[in-house]
Symmetry: C2
Subunit: 210 residues, 2 copies
């Protein structure tokens, strides 16, 4: 971005000058990030390289490397980008804020069953054996986890000043992650729906007691 400002060299219309170029750059970046997540979800870490992603996104390898210097940069940015999109989508499902708790629990669990979770899982597992990836992914996981927790607390109207409430919500998110894992090899929808219905009812009761 700083480079773009220098390049434009114009005092008169920097916004107009920079606009379309930045737009194109943003579109390319977005295409790379989305291709990276799909690639990771489908082929795992071993099968996910910058070249494969660039080809999938219809972008030259040079352009891809202009946006992301390393393979680690590309894939951690991709998981973070999609996680942010999912957080926005979760909030958008409940535009009025706090909502029916069973619907919120179901929506939170849904976050862990799609391609994003699959991609993130591949990245986590790869990070557990690769020193270059590990600190990046650890930090990313903590950040995304905090944000998901914050949204869940808000939508569930959970008062974390009450002892045990924080751990109750954390346990729900751990369960959601475990349900995502159970969905990795087979379609676990039927069983998952029953588990979610039961625990959402328990959670509703526990949080209402306060």
């Amino acid at each position: 971005m700083a480079g773009g400002a220098v390049d434009s060299g114009s005092e008169a219309g920097p916004v107009v000058d920079r606009g379309p170029k930045q737009d194109r750059s943003r579109v390319t970046r977005k295409r790379l990030l989305e291709a990276a997540v799909s690639c990771l979800a489908e082929h795992g870490w071993a099968g996910s390289t910058v070249s494969v992603v660039a080809e999938r996104a219809g972008v030259s390898r040079g352009a891809a490397q202009h946006h992301f210097r390393t393979r680690e940069d590309l894939f951690t940015a991709a998981v973070e980008y999609v996680a942010e999109e999912r957080s926005l989508a979760l909030r958008a499902l409940f535009p009025e804020g706090p909502a029916d708790r069973r619907a919120v629990v179901a929506a939170v669990v849904d976050l862990y069953t799609g391609p994003l979770f699959r991609a993130a899982l591949h990245l986590w597992v790869a990070a557990s054996n690769e020193e270059q990836l590990r600190p990046r992914v650890t930090e990313l996981e903590a950040r995304v986890g905090r944000e998901t927790h914050r949204i869940a607390v808000e939508l569930l109207r959970a008062d974390e000043t009450v002892p045990g409430v924080r751990e109750t919500v954390q346990g729900l998110l751990d369960m959601a992650r475990g349900l995502g894992l159970a969905n990795l090899l087979t379609d676990d929808t039927g069983r998952r729906d029953r588990v979610v219905a039961q625990w959402a009812a328990l959670l509703d009761e526990v949080l209402d007691r306060v």
Copy 2:
């Protein structure tokens, strides 16, 4: 085993003849299985081959291939073997059967935080991208999951004829799996202990209501 009986060629003392040979074979097999789980936990699927495991177990590659014809055979057998060992160990913790529910919940969650879970996770994630591995691991996961569920139901004194009880126990096992995942990159012990304490108390209350 059938081959061993033919080899011995003696009508007089087949049991004495076969004994030590079978013992050695069993010891070799056990060493291979344990080495395979450690290897998978430390290096992931990509770094886990029959040769690496044979070397780690101090067994020749030929001997390893005598026991396990393919890489898939070795690693699925290894995860199954260690899962069975862990089930026995879980039962051994509560020799009198049903026990204090909070202790049972803590012990069940512990199943998902050690090297076995890490190894199984690598195998699951690899299976999600490898067609050769997928049906084997899917079947193994279902079998191990059913056995863990059975033990949990028994130790928790959960009456599954009561509506919702089955799903309550399933949700607990999903949470345990999610807690295992959260422990993959960082030592999550402190947070996990608090979540387990809270959810064990909730579970105790729910199951006692009946």
